[in-house]
Symmetry: C2
Subunit: 608 residues, 2 copies
């Protein structure tokens, strides 16, 4: 499968884009005209640079408003096109994208458009150039790929074919059956973009919110399969207009883009194994659980106190390293003070239990996800790992059916005791910079089969926090990822936004009492909150009293109920203890706003 | 006119919100329930705090999903409502907002809704409380204020009335004629919000993008007039859900909100002078021109060189201050090195020529726009001034029919010479932090009658720059304000984003030559740009050669053409010289992208 990407997808001047695209392993580019116009390099220099980097220039784009126009206007179109065809010869590019008319069309007569495209095709053919005609979703008269193909069919010139763009097709829910009715050799180019489900006008949606495959809501695999079924064998090319990717580091964005195509190739191969030249990724299931969470900081002693009070067992500071393992049931927390001078505590790493660690390793390698150097958690065990888009290290290791993972042994004999009933990690909540959340989605889904499970806005006192939940189908791994409001994220607090680890336990009220008995105060919950609970739920007064006394929060839905308590924040991390009753599957969304306000109050009081 | 504001409009914990709202001069608040639930203060404490601050609690909000439900569900509604009514008695608030059902409605039978509202009204009346029923634009069955009124009419209970919310009415373009058909005393509450014109689903539009009156595209004055015509005499209250205002400083946002209501009061009084109790703002026309632009920095000598080369005359460094006035025609630039240690040059102030300086002063005072202390530009002249939302100082002074403004005299005798034909300031382009652009719109429009004239996205190498143009109807004042891409704005460059001053001149090619002769190099323009000009416009080869040789950019439309050249950036400021031919009214939008790329290249080369 040949791959290409439009230069408009990423930031920087044109030469930097080409370097980034080549480094990511693409075969070619679509050269976006404004990038060339603003570049100091001559067309010949760009051609030579692309050649040196091993990149084909697959497409020059776009020619706008070329058909359906008056004869007087068409004379201007020919003048403009001829200049661009001459330029393309200097660049050594053989195909130009022509978009359906949005501005100057005076007729919806397809025969006029076809005749004008044919004349353009004749002009292009004289210079060895082909025209790929594309229906924009907001074209004045031609806004459907089937109509574009009809015009191309009527133009009946070998230098005139169609360009299919997934956004223009899927955004308008155009039926896909027409794709395989187009002869493959008349499809001159294919552009792919994903997008989130938005109810926004299609022009704004397209210009600002496109995403790379696997980051949005479109069924791209099905469309791509049909294009290949039609016999198209040209490059699959990304054309993603996105306000964020226009700003972020081009090398990183290009790598993300290339990975999205690798994911797509696999997805297509899975729905249709007969399509030639597609490679599957190694199979890999979602993690079976959270093996450990590591907190790193100059001083993690505050966590020792909380974990001890919660019935965790310490497995000793390692003899040569300032690393401690705390366990309760299958919950494992690594506190790491190694090389953490000046660092406020934060979640540095998450480890997953997986059924086949080698398969995960092979899958990430095939996706081109960079591996971090293996490192020893304490002393002996080597763990394969990588770095998530938000900077958190992610490791994976073979899940043990019984007993603890191999790496745990280096901390000495580990018992599964759980003095106060903490059984495992329920969820890990990381804070995401707004500019990486889309990349994170592809990362978690393609690399770890952790899929998005919905998102919600939590109104905090410093702004809306967007909470995006990712997880495994069985609920064994749950990652609610929070995008903080930009202004407060920018301002920082304790060196970064707040993250947390939630532990599942059998009886959260008893646990909260145990914490209090050990002198670990919970995050205070206002009395008004419990008055509201009384209004919303038919809870017995004694139950309410029990919740209130222990500062435990409550939610319930048709599936069950959720009781949870928060600890105070240390550095950039706090803990939550949760008890899920019945099949409650959420996170108490209304309670999160109460927590954010209490945390802001605590931070203001105690300084931050 | 009584004013109120919902606590959800601004950031912070509840007590901070109350202080900010009181400081802005509001008469009352709508208490948003989640703000109370998350507050540590008891209802009695909140009541007492509001009383001490001189704020009424006009409304408690919201009760959701109260009507159109099954009898079983209605029992739960009554339980919930009764608890909230008791709470409202503790708070001392007499009216509650009930929204039309979005979640639990089982019938569209208006008689069922009316009967249930009546029973709620009976319960409320027992506690001295009134219910204001509001049609949400996305209500399941009741989504139109006229239907809400019909339900209230059928409920026929003195404790049940309607709440009108401008967003729900104007977002769906519901006809306004029905408003005056509602008896004024049955309108229990009125909520006002503006909004930008977006083609977004109405729920997302409402929850994230509402604006204060005067900042959006809604015709709020007409709606407000009708509400008052109907006989409503309760508070006009702001309910603005906005992702930005939830993050910004509450004191500043509340002041902005109060100002928006003052602006609205004036706008209503202007369309209907018969409405009682409304005060007009003092009349004030748009400025007649730009009196001066001040650049402040530790070292402004680089500008001396450019201005001298452009034919400006220096009026001497003031005898006691490091301040220089440069003039050419009516263009006046003040270079100020006073108290600017360590400051890279930036635009610190803009002065407007106005026809009636006292009227402007009175108008800003009435709007509650804070005045900055008068200061002397150099020595003698006192200038009234204020600070724009982006931090730029803005001054105004009486326009002189002939000769120069009074303050200019302190620099000595000023001649109107213009050695190279620079006649005046064409436009001033300031960079806006993204979080102030809405506030800026209200500021420029309400205070200075400078209205928005469209916006466009400029694709730069570091992201999209949103350019919002404001100006006077006659084009004498033009302010294209740019919102930089968040990531590059955050990173900063030379201490801040780049601003510029554009000068109008008679012959820009001659001027560019004069600059070059004086050793002032223009910002380089790539050859590819001129090749594209040749493709797009039928320009004679000699014209193209002239543009190319002088690094002058070109644009044309049906009204005329635009020739312009940029200087290199010094600190955070560059100059542009423009020649408008015919009635060209734009800014060469396609050229801005070329400029941004060239500027990035120059900054990378010379260090930044």
């Amino acid at each position: 499968m040949e791959t290409s990407i439009a230069t408009v997808c990423i930031s920087g001047p044109l030469s930097a884009k080409l370097h980034a695209i080549a480094a990511a392993g693409f075969d070619g580019i679509e050269l976006f005209e404004p990038d060339l116009i603003a570049a100091p390099e001559s067309p010949e220099e760009i051609r030579a640079l692309a050649a040196r980097l091993g990149l084909r220039i697959d497409l020059y784009q776009p020619l706008r408003d070329v058909e359906g126009v008056s004869e007087e206007e068409f004379a201007r179109v020919l003048h403009r096109a001829d200049a661009k065809f001459a330029l393309m010869q200097r660049l050594g590019v053989g195909t130009v994208l022509a978009c359906s008319n949005v501005a100057t069309a005076v007729t919806d007569d397809l025969d006029v458009s076809a005749a004008q495209l044919r004349r353009l095709g004749e002009l292009a053919a004289g210079r060895g150039i082909r025209i790929a005609f594309e229906a924009l979703a907001w074209g004045r008269h031609i806004d459907d790929y089937r109509t574009a193909w009809e015009v191309v069919r009527r133009a009946d010139h070998p230098a005139v074919g169609v360009c299919l763009d997934s956004f223009h097709i899927l955004s308008r829910r155009t039926p896909l059956e027409g794709i395989t009715e187009i002869p493959g050799d008349r499809i001159f180019f294919v552009q792919l973009a994903d997008a989130p489900a938005l109810s926004l006008d299609v022009l704004s949606w397209s210009r600002h919110h496109r995403l790379f495959p696997g980051e949005g809501a479109f069924e791209l695999a099905d469309l791509t399969r049909r294009v290949l079924d039609a016999g198209y064998r040209g490059p699959l090319s990304l054309e993603v207009f996105n306000d964020t990717f226009r700003q972020t580091d081009p090398v990183r964005t290009a790598a993300q883009a290339r990975r999205s195509l690798r994911w797509l190739e696999d997805a297509v191969a899975r729905i249709d194994p007969d399509v030639p030249d597609l490679q599957l990724l190694p199979d890999s299931a979602a993690p079976a659980g959270v093996a450990f969470v590591e907190i790193k900081g100059e001083d993690t002693s505050g966590f020792d106190r909380v974990l001890a009070a919660a019935g965790f067992t310490a497995h000793g500071r390692h003899r040569s390293k300032a690393v401690t393992l705390w366990t309760s049931g299958r919950a494992r927390i690594v506190l790491n003070e190694e090389r953490a001078a000046g660092l406020a505590p934060r979640i540095a790493a998450v480890g997953f239990d997986v059924d086949d660690a080698d398969a995960v390793t092979r899958r990430l390698t095939a996706l081109g996800v960079p591996r971090v150097d293996r490192r020893r958690l304490a002393d002996e065990a080597d763990l394969p790992g990588t770095i998530a888009p938000d900077g958190t290290e992610v490791y994976w290791s073979q899940a043990a059916d019984a007993g603890d993972p191999e790496w745990a042994a280096e901390f000495g004999p580990v018992q599964r005791s759980a003095a106060h009933g903490v059984t495992r990690v329920d969820h890990v909540s990381l804070t995401q910079p707004w500019q990486v959340i889309d990349e994170t989605r592809l990362f978690l889904s393609a690399a770890f089969a952790l899929e998005p499970q919905g998102s919600t806005d939590v109104p905090g006192p410093a702004g809306l926090v967007q909470s995006h939940v990712f997880g495994s189908p069985d609920g064994a791994v749950r990652l609610p990822l929070n995008v903080a409001p930009p202004l407060s994220a920018e301002a920082g607090r304790d060196g970064g936004p707040v993250q947390h680890i939630a532990f599942a336990c059998d009886d959260v009220i008893a646990l909260a009492r145990a914490l209090a008995d050990a002198g670990v105060a919970p995050l205070p919950v206002p009395a008004n909150y419990y008055d509201d609970l009384a209004a919303r739920f038919a809870l017995p007064e004694s139950t309410l009293d029990g919740l209130r006394a222990a500062s435990v929060l409550y939610d319930a839905d048709a599936d069950g109920s959720y009781l949870h308590v928060y600890t105070r924040t240390i550095g950039g991390v706090f803990f939550e203890f949760v008890e899920r009753r019945g099949h409650y599957d959420g996170y108490g969304p209304q309670n999160a706003a109460v927590r954010l306000t209490a945390q802001q109050r605590a931070a203001d009081r105690f300084g931050a």
